[in-house]
């Protein structure tokens, strides 16, 4: 459990550092250094991950691709978390018709495959990074919303929330200062897991040719390009694939680890011996 968390954190850290320092780490330029003479070279001392069919260095493109993939993952998940938390907390807190509406919307969202929905949004907005962020940011908030709503439902009848109301605090203030801090833990966990799935979704959309447009490298469109080379130059597909795998695995382990650490039952009792109470 502890090991998983550390392992996940390590994977994520490597990917993040690779993305940040891509210009320093990449031996070649991911787009400009195309050289048809050196296309489809297997991994060697110069090209550690080989080259693709246009002779571009796969390692450099994986490093630059990490920037795109991580940015899409993190930004779209921030949008998702914000929407989900706002809808979930307000639905749970106010109840009534607003709650019914949000519940219905959540169920509809859960019923539509999110990738198909994202595809539809992309079809309307056209390809490109901004529309990808919007498409992925609008389609994956249902779980966040559900968790936020159910946590709020149990929190709002707690007497500290009633006490805040009695003291005259407004509803907005109570949601922000009393409820949100108490559900930040689970939201963080879902958010982390969501980054992993957003990275996958980006890869899938780019693979389908409607995500990040070439020549900008993303792990998804690198896979698309490498599709025809699976026999002649498998490294062009393996390394971006491994990068996706490692990133998603890393975020998932991180999320699981966070959940365990933030779970109050797993926390050791501080001060009073809670377990000793007769």
């Amino acid at each position: 459990m502890r090991f998983n968390f550390v392992f996940g954190l390590t994977l994520v850290t490597i990917v993040v550092l690779g993305a940040i320092f891509a210009p320093l780490l990449a031996p070649f330029h991911p787009i400009m250094d195309a050289d048809l003479m050196s296309s489809q070279l297997p991994p060697d001392g110069v090209h550690l991950m080989g080259t693709d069919n246009q002779g571009r260095d796969v390692l450099s493109r994986v490093l630059y691709g990490a920037r795109v993939s991580l940015m899409v993952g993190v930004v779209s998940q921030i949008i998702n978390s914000t929407i989900g938390a706002a809808l979930g907390i307000s639905a749970g807190y106010f109840g009534g018709r607003w709650d019914d509406f949000v519940n219905g919307l959540t169920n509809v969202m859960l019923a539509i495959p999110s990738l198909v929905f994202a595809l539809a949004i992309m079809a309307v907005l056209g390809p490109g990074l901004p529309s990808l962020l919007i498409a992925l940011g609008l389609t994956n908030w249902s779980w966040t919303c559900r968790i936020a709503r159910s946590s709020t439902l149990s929190l709002k009848s707690q007497s500290f929330v009633l006490a805040a109301k009695s003291a005259g605090f407004g509803d907005w203030n109570i949601m922000r200062t009393q409820i949100l801090p108490n559900i930040v833990g689970p939201l963080l966990v879902i958010g982390t897991l969501g980054i992993g799935s957003a990275v996958l979704a980006e890869a899938a959309l780019s693979f389908l040719g409607i995500g990040i447009r070439p020549p900008t490298p993303s792990w998804g469109n690198m896979l698309t390009d490498a599709r025809e080379l699976l026999r002649s130059a498998p490294w062009a597909a393996i390394f971006p694939g491994l990068a996706i795998f490692a990133t998603v695995l890393g975020f998932n382990l991180l999320g699981d680890g966070l959940r365990d650490m933030l779970d109050p039952h797993m926390r050791t009792a501080r001060g009073d011996a809670g377990a000793a109470r007769a």
């Binding site: 011996a273 377990a275 000793a276 109470r277 007769a278």
Partner: protein, 305 residues
């Protein structure tokens, strides 16, 4: 009345939190005589529930028995195999808990939950066991028992659920019933009925009761003898009448004084209640207080110095 042999005899029972952790029970010694009702009273954290659970063999990790013995009919319960212990549990020694909702299985009808006791411990067939279950429900004064046997726990009120728990516990006519705060979750008028029921059934069957409670009123009404616990130690043990009229340990005196008594208020203003630490100086409740429980014969008082 000569001293009969005790039904259950606990000697120097020690319970720890974790293998190397702190002591939760610092050597408890007490005897329960056949057919008597023994009250164990104390505040939260005193170890009274842990004592009950240890006798039952239901301590949950990280709590573990670190020493001492629990003798029941010449056998040390702590030395028995898990299997032997399990056979004893529910059959010879039964237990009822504070919250009957969590102690009952929500997806099994109450009739079947009682019948299960006969099937497991008496080897009966289900048909006969179900008939006996209805009788058992009748004996705990559940109205229209044949119909109620088909009900599920959530369909019953708290008082009815606790009656069902009692029916399950007493199904096999055990020698000892451990009742851990059996009425704490119940309303006071319901509590009166449930306590009366426990008292009547156990007196009729000669079942001894270990009643664990924080409520001195309940203890006073139910028990022949009382042990007072404070932070893992038995600090006083007396006959009930003697304990309430002449408490020996300062902590017991403090507990009795801290509670307002119904009908005690007199005209003209409200009185301050006596607080525990006005009677027991902090030092006397220190953690290294010696556990000098002196067994000078069973019917006498025992007080921790």
């Amino acid at each position: 009345m000569s001293n009969p042999d005790p039904l259950l005899s606990v000697r120097d029972l020690r319970v720890k939190l974790g293998r190397h952790g702190a002591h939760i029970l610092h050597g408890i010694s007490l005897d329960i005589l056949p057919g008597e009702t023994y009250g164990l009273v104390g505040e939260s954290g005193s170890g009274k529930s842990v004592t009950g659970l240890s006798i039952m063999g239901l301590l949950k990790r990280p709590l573990n028995v670190a020493g001492g013995s629990i003798h029941y009919q010449d056998q040390n319960l702590l030395k028995l195999s898990r299997r032997a212990r399990r056979d004893l549990r529910g059959d010879r020694i039964a237990m009822i808990f504070q919250e009957p909702m969590t102690a009952l299985n929500p997806v099994v009808s109450i009739g079947n939950q009682i019948a299960e006791m006969f099937v497991i411990h008496r080897g009966m067939g289900w048909t006969e066991a179900r008939l006996r279950a209805v009788e058992a429900l009748d004996s705990v004064q559940v109205p229209s028992p044949a119909e109620r046997a088909r009900a599920y726990p959530h369909q019953l009120s708290g008082g009815m659920r606790q009656r069902v728990m009692i029916a399950i516990a007493l199904a096999c006519r055990p020698d000892l019933l451990i009742a851990d705060e059996p009425t704490t979750a119940l309303d006071v008028t319901v509590q009166a009925g449930v306590l009366k029921l426990i008292h009547e059934l156990c007196t009729a069957e000669g079942t001894a009761v270990l009643l664990v409670s924080h409520d001195l009123g309940v203890i006073a009404n139910m028990c022949q003898r009382v042990g007072v616990m404070d932070r893992g130690r038995l600090i006083e043990e007396q006959d009930t009448a003697a304990l309430f009229s002449n408490p020996l340990h300062p902590y017991t005196r403090g507990l009795l004084a801290a509670r307002p008594r119904l009908g005690s208020r007199v005209e003209g203003g409200r009185k301050r209640l006596t607080e525990l630490d006005e009677i027991v100086p902090d030092g006397a409740r220190g953690h290294d207080a010696p556990t000098l429980v002196t067994p000078r014969g069973r019917r006498e008082a025992r007080v921790a110095a």
